[in-house]
């Protein structure tokens, strides 16, 4: 008698599941067009600016565009697209593509521990699109922007989230590239995601990846991909100048470092130590904290009593926990020097008074006085009330805007594997909210960094460090030869 009750619900569930399966089948149907038509049209000269390129596996999105020459294909499409009810984006995209549109896919960490940073990133993307006539679809992070145009072409924004793991990032990106037909990808947020996406996107030369905030050096430093661009710094560049400042200005001779145990903090610690040790400083202890640790008390306890300062490199929750606990356990007896994201504006308000006076280096300061920065800050607050500039919204903004500017310059021409567009993108040189940017041969930005101090809850400039490059001013070959930073590299 217990099994009797839920019959109705069961039936409903059955219907739901069936619908799902039908939806899946339709996805397949839609694909059928792509696979059967793509070979037929591939040899033809590209009829539309955004036509697919022969070497790449045909992207689903291109199917409708391809279909134009053959009436049969077009009618097929007309018949099938409505059926693909499970995938509204793809349908819209297909329709828009016929009249000429460009799809931008934005990926950031919308789930998991870095979800807040994902929100910030998307603010930056949307802000750039708003400058091109777009309007917000809604207030949620996953709500897109519609109506933006560049060179007369509509810009579609597709938003995907990951949870900061490479596998999920690749799948999300694959969805944007192959399902939604994204031409340009903005993102991702974290370092290892960036490396994974570099490998993926290399196989799609016509798609362009403009990095968000992934700060892995090897995104551009070693084995770069021709269609990957970074308009910001990497983890080491963001930390540039701190080691020297600590040695020369602050007079520290021995330091300890506390950092999360993965590649991004390795880069930060590596950059600090490279400078600091070159000047004659020594590192007494390198403490690596496993990711996912919340209670830093036992790690604070390992800091030797006799060091001059402690450099810490962390992000988000970890930074908050560390600073708070360091304060509680030591009363800040030994001064702290911070990594760039540990005192990023995105966590400053949560750090509160404890962050006052912390020295760090980084790309974003609040008092640079640049007109572009003030305009950006004002606009950000206007569109997303209460938001202030931080590394995530600024970088995603710069990435998106650079792409849009390059698109404008080439008139939205993405033919020939986006060759013209990528060339224009590589030539982008403009005054961003955080200073001028130009790209080097690896499509890696050379940008200004700032030595900064937390003062009154904002980052104030100590010194502007102009034109920091990917090798921190060292000889390129030597710098690359010393290998990726790791737990014990550099070995000073």
């Amino acid at each position: 008698m217990r099994q009797r009750k839920p019959t109705g619900v069961w039936r409903l569930l059955g219907v739901l599941v069936t619908l799902l399966l039908i939806a899946a089948a339709c996805g397949g149907d839609e694909g059928e067009d792509a696979t059967t038509q793509a070979p037929a049209t591939a040899p033809e000269p590209a009829p539309a600016p955004d036509a697919p390129e022969p070497p790449a596996p045909p992207a689903t999105e291109s199917a409708p565009a391809d279909a134009e020459p053959t009436g049969e294909g077009a009618s097929d499409d007309a018949g099938d697209d409505p059926a693909a009810s499970d995938d509204v984006t793809a349908t819209d995209d297909g329709a828009a593509d016929a009249t000429g549109s460009i799809t931008i896919g934005a990926i950031s960490t919308l789930d998991g521990p870095f979800a807040a940073l994902g929100d910030f990133s998307m603010h930056g993307v949307k802000l750039a699109l708003l400058e091109y006539g777009g309007e917000l679809d809604g207030t949620d992070t996953r709500d897109g922007v519609s109506g933006a145009t560049v060179a007369g072409l509509d810009i579609e924004l597709v938003i995907e989230g990951s949870d900061a793991t490479p596998d999920v990032a690749v799948e999300a990106t694959r969805r944007m590239v192959e399902q939604d037909g994204a031409d340009i990808i903005i993102g991702p947020l974290s370092g290892d995601e960036g490396l994974a996406l570099k490998d993926y996107i290399r196989d799609f030369p016509e798609v362009t990846l403009v990095n968000g905030t992934s700060a892995s050096q090897d995104l551009t430093l070693r084995d770069p991909a021709p269609n990957v661009f970074r308009f910001g710094g990497d983890g080491a560049m963001w930390t540039f100048g701190v080691g020297t400042y600590a040695y020369e200005e602050l007079g520290y001779r021995t330091i300890a470092t506390v950092a999360e145990d993965y590649s991004y903090p390795y880069d930060q610690v590596g950059a600090v130590l490279t400078e600091f040790c070159a000047l004659g400083g020594t590192v007494a202890e390198r403490i690596w904290v496993p990711l996912g640790t919340q209670d830093y008390s036992s790690f604070v306890a390992q800091i030797p009593n006799d060091v001059d300062a402690v450099f810490f490199a962390m992000g988000g929750t970890d930074a908050i926990n560390f600073v708070k606990q360091y304060d509680e356990f030591t009363g800040q007896a030994i001064p702290l020097v911070a990594g760039p994201t540990a005192v990023d504006q995105s966590v400053l308000s949560e750090l509160g008074d404890r962050a006052e006076g912390l020295i760090s280096s980084g790309p974003v300061v609040d008092d640079s006085g640049l007109a572009e920065f003030d305009a950006f800050a004002a606009r950000l607050d206007e569109v997303f009330p209460g938001q202030t500039p931080n590394i995530f919204n600024v970088y995603y903004y710069i990435a998106t805007k650079s792409a849009l500017q390059a698109l404008e310059e080439v008139g939205g021409d993405l033919s020939d594997a986006s060759a013209a567009f990528q060339a224009a993108l590589a030539e982008q040189s403009w005054q961003t909210p955080i200073g001028p940017v130009v790209l080097d041969d690896n499509r890696q930005a050379v940008v200004d960094m700032y030595l900064r101090r937390v003062d009154g809850g904002i980052q104030k400039t100590i010194e502007t460090l102009p034109k920091v490059n990917a090798t921190l001013g060292f000889d390129r070959d030597e710098y690359i030869a010393q290998g990726s930073f790791s737990r014990d590299n550099p070995s000073c």
Binding site: Q294, D295, F329
Partner: protein, 347 residues
């Protein structure tokens, strides 16, 4: 001077403990109880190792001990409710971490609105208790089907985490401790301090433990709960509406998790992913201690907390491996945990 004396005392204590253990291990070996001998030998080595290490940086050993106890306190708050719930209702509540997070977040909202930590803690406790009722209702019709109940709580955990993200966003945040628990106390013979609130958390866990003990061993409800842990069908057959007791335990477990969320949200912080982390820790504690055993939860909380603190201090990089390795070893040697009896944990 002082450290030396403490070192000596510690060494002496360890020696006594070791001699005792060695004796028992030998006795067990003579008595052909090889497993027991192996267990004793392993614990002996562990004690020896820990002592040796704590002498090594002796001005930090008190701190490490306190850290271990603080962690243990948080784990105990989580684990006690979890173990009661499992013991009585046979539900492996994988949403326990979600309750922790939501309890903490509700308290955070209340504190932001009122500025009062105690009010925040109280409401966090009540809210989590309310979630306990919701879970109870959700699981009612699956009673007795352990695996399906577990799966439903897993689904609930996924929903809770996402709802927490939707309502409180991903920005990590923390509660401010009440004024009288702000600041730190100096640690003797060490340049380091110890935050008052952490000590209060240890106190809170001890209080909660005492209250639970009184409830379980000094009231009729407690008798019914214990009887239900042993055999809930027989409690039903005694005419007692065991469902009401179940509901009460759901509320209690939820409330305890919420309290842990408030405490953890104050001395650590609240963020996405915390639910899984805390859930994992409390699962470890509950299982290592033995399902349904309050005493076991207490002992295992202390064990896990201390092992974690020592491992983090002395082998930072491999600390998590040591913690989980210990758990695996405990469970492989004692499949029902330290204090567990072979209860029917069939799913």
């Amino acid at each position: 001077m002082a450290p030396d004396r403490r070192t000596e005392a510690a060494a002496g204590g360890a020696q006594v403990a070791l001699r005792h253990l060695a004796g028992r291990a030998a006795a067990a070996a003579v008595g052909r109880n090889q497993r027991r001998a192996a267990q004793l030998a392993i614990s002996g080595l562990l004690i020896y190792y820990v002592t040796a290490k704590s002498i090594q940086i002796s001005d930090r050993s008190l701190l490490v001990l306190l850290n271990g106890l603080t962690a243990a306190a948080l784990y105990f708050l989580m684990a006690s409710g979890f173990t009661l719930l499992f013991g009585l209702v046979r539900v492996t509540n994988l949403a326990h971490g979600g309750v922790y997070l939501l309890g903490g977040y509700v308290a955070l909202s209340v504190q932001r609105a009122t500025g009062n930590w105690l009010a925040a803690a109280g409401l966090g406790f009540l809210f989590s208790g309310g979630i306990g009722i919701l879970l109870y209702v959700l699981l009612r019709r699956l009673r007795g089907e352990g695996l399906r109940e577990t799966m439903v709580t897993l689904g609930a955990a996924i929903v809770m985490a996402d709802q927490a993200l939707a309502h409180w966003g991903g920005v990590p945040s923390d509660l401010d401790p009440p004024a009288f628990l702000q600041g730190s106390l100096p640690l003797p013979a060490s340049p380091l301090l110890y935050p008052k609130f952490r000590i209060a958390v240890i106190g809170l866990a001890i209080l909660a433990g005492l209250a639970l003990w009184l409830l379980l061993y000094r009231t009729r409800l407690g008798m019914v709960i214990r009887a239900g842990v042993d055999d809930r069908d027989m409690v039903s057959m005694a005419g007692i509406r065991v469902e009401l007791v179940f509901c009460a335990v759901f509320v209690l477990a939820g409330g305890l998790a919420g309290m842990a969320g408030v405490a953890g949200g104050t001395y650590l912080s609240l963020a996405q992913g915390e639910d899984n982390r805390v859930l994992l820790a409390s699962l470890i504690v509950v299982i290592a201690g033995g399902l349904g055993s309050l005493r076991g939860a207490g002992a295992a909380a202390v064990l896990v907390g201390l092992v974690e603190a020592f491992a983090q201090t002395h082998h930072a990089i491999l600390s998590v491996l040591i913690t989980f390795g210990t758990l695996i070893a405990v469970l492989a040697l004692r499949p029902h945990g330290l204090f567990g009896r072979p209860v029917d944990a069939r799913l």
